[in-house]
Amino acid sequence: MQLLTEYREDVERVERFNFVSRLTHWGHTVTFLLCLLTGLILFLDGVDWLAAIFGGYNSAGLIHRISAVFMTLFIIIFIIFDFKGIKAWIKDILSFGKNDIIFILKFPLEFLGFEVKMPPQTRFNGGEKGNSILTPTCVILLVLSGYIMWFPAAFPPGLVRVAYPVHDIAMILSTFMVCMHGYLGSFHPGSGESFWGMWKGTVRADWAKHHHPIWYEETYGEKKAE
C-alpha cells in the first residue's frame, strides 16, 4: 500500500513554497507537537506516563516553554523574511468566494475517496483557506494567552482568567485542524503532490494545473503577470 505520492524529478516541476515558508511550516510542526504533547499532560489530568516521557512534570513544563519561545520566533522570522509572502497569503485567504464554498461543500465526498469535480481553485483551495484562517488565528491566541499564563503577575487578573479557557479552546481547535491538515497533507491520496510542495518546495506542473488552475495560470501560465 502506497502512503505518499511518489516524488518524480523526470516531469516538469514548479515552485510552490519558498524556503522561509517551509522553514516556518516545519519549525511550527515540531514546536507545535512538542507544546501539544507537553500541554496535554495538564489538560488530560493524570497522564503520568506522558509526563514521564518528557522527564517529569517540571521538565515537561520547561520543554513547553522553550518550544513556545521557538514557536514565537518562527512567527517573527516569517514576518521579517517573507512579509511579501504573508501579504500574498492573506490576500488569497480574503478572496474566499463561491468556488471555495462549493469546494468545502463537496469536500466530504473527496475526503472519503469519491471522485468529485471541483471548481477551479486559486493558490489555496477552499479547505486550505479555512485552515489558513483558523490555525494561525489559534496559534496567535495560544502564544498570547500562553505568555499571559506564564507571567500572570504582569497582567490584570481578569485577563489571566480569560487566558486559561482561551488557551484550551485554541489548543483544541488548532489540534483538530492540525490532525486533519497532517492527514490531508500526507496520506490522503487525493492531495497527491501537496506534501512535496511543502517538503521540497516544488510540485508537478500538471498537478498544479489540475488542482490549482487559477494560481498556475497567474504564476506560471500564459497570463503570468510580468
Partner: protein, 266 residues
C-alpha cells in the same frame, strides 16, 4: 467528623500580630520584608512566605477621627474550593475536618489556583517555584493541638473548635455587639460560598474590612473547568477517527477504480 474551624473576633483583636509571628514560626517561613508604605500594616498582602497578615484598614470619620478596622486575613478553607477545582495536578485536598490543604510535592507552580481563588489566597513562592498558603495548621490539629495562631492569641480574638459551637458563640457575640454600639455587627463565613471553614465576627459590614460582600468564583473558571475541559476535547479524537476512516475508504475506493486509473496522482 465535625468541621473544626477558626473563629476570629474583630472586636477583641488588638492587632498585636502575634498570630502572624506564630504562623511564621510554626511553618518555618523566612521573613518577607517590604518597604514602609505609610501605615502600620506589615505586608501589602499575604505572600508565598506569609500565610496570614493583620490588615490595618483606616477609616476617617469627621466626628470620631481616624479609626482602624483590624482584620486577620488568610485562607478561608472554602467547603467547595475553587483552587481544588482548577489544580491540574490535584495538589489540593480537603481534610475530613474541613481544612483545604495543598501538597507542595504535587505543585508545579502554574498558579491557576491564585487566579481562581475569590480571596486571592494561594501565592507564588518564587524560591521554590511553587504555590503556598495557610494549612489551618493541619499538622498540629491532627496531633490534637490548636492552630499556631489560635494557640498564641493573647486576647481570645482567635478561637479554634467545632464549627457549629463556634457559630452559636458568634451569634451571641454579634447580638451583644449590636446592643453595645456596633449596630452593623455581623458574622462572615456562615453562608458565604456555601459556608467557609473560617468564621469572622465583624463589628461592621464586610466591605469595611475589605472582604468581598458576596464572594463568587470568577465566571471564567466554571466555564473553563465545567464546559471547555470536559466537552471540547472530543474534537481531537473525532479528527483522528475521521482521518482513519478516510485512510481506509480512500484506498478501498481507489482499488475499485484501479482499472480506469493508473499512477499515484489523480
Amino acid at each position: 467528623m465535625a468541621n473544626l474551624t477558626n473563629l476570629y473576633d474583630v472586636s477583641k483583636c488588638t492587632a498585636c500580630r502575634a498570630c502572624q509571628v506564630a504562623c511564621k514560626n510554626w511553618n518555618q517561613l523566612p521573613a518577607a520584608i517590604e518597604p514602609f508604605k505609610g501605615n502600620y500594616q506589615t505586608h501589602e498582602d499575604t505572600n508565598g512566605d506569609t500565610y496570614t497578615i493583620v490588615r490595618f484598614i483606616e477609616h476617617e470619620d469627621p466626628v470620631g477621627g481616624v479609626t482602624w478596622n483590624f482584620l486577620k486575613y488568610q485562607c478561608m478553607h472554602c467547603s467547595d474550593p475553587a483552587c481544588m477545582k482548577v489544580c491540574p495536578r490535584g495538589a489540593y485536598s480537603k481534610t475530613e475536618w474541613g481544612a483545604t490543604i495543598h501538597d507542595p510535592d504535587k505543585c508545579i507552580g502554574c498558579q491557576y489556583c491564585t487566579y481562581a481563588c475569590p480571596f486571592g489566597i494561594p501565592k507564588y513562592r518564587e524560591r521554590e517555584d511553587k504555590v503556598a498558603k495557610c494549612t489551618l495548621c493541619a499538622d498540629r490539629v491532627e496531633e490534637g493541638m490548636q492552630p499556631a495562631c489560635a494557640a498564641t492569641c493573647p486576647t481570645g480574638a482567635l478561637k479554634f473548635g467545632d464549627r457549629y459551637e463556634l457559630l452559636q458563640y458568634a451569634e451571641e457575640r454579634v447580638n451583644f455587639l449590636r446592643a453595645n454600639g456596633y449596630p452593623n455587627a455581623t458574622i462572615y463565613g456562615k453562608l458565604e460560598l456555601g459556608g467557609l471553614n473560617k468564621i469572622y465576627i465583624l463589628t461592621d459590614t464586610p466591605d469595611k474590612f475589605g472582604l468581598p460582600v458576596d464572594p463568587k468564583i470568577p465566571g471564567q473558571i466554571p466555564f473553563w473547568q465545567d464546559i471547555v475541559q470536559p466537552y471540547f476535547g472530543w474534537l481531537i479524537p473525532l479528527a483522528l477517527a475521521g482521518s482513519a476512516v478516510s485512510f481506509v475508504t480512500t484506498r478501498l475506493l481507489a482499488n475499485k477504480h484501479k482499472e480506469n486509473k493508473k499512477g499515484g496522482h489523480e
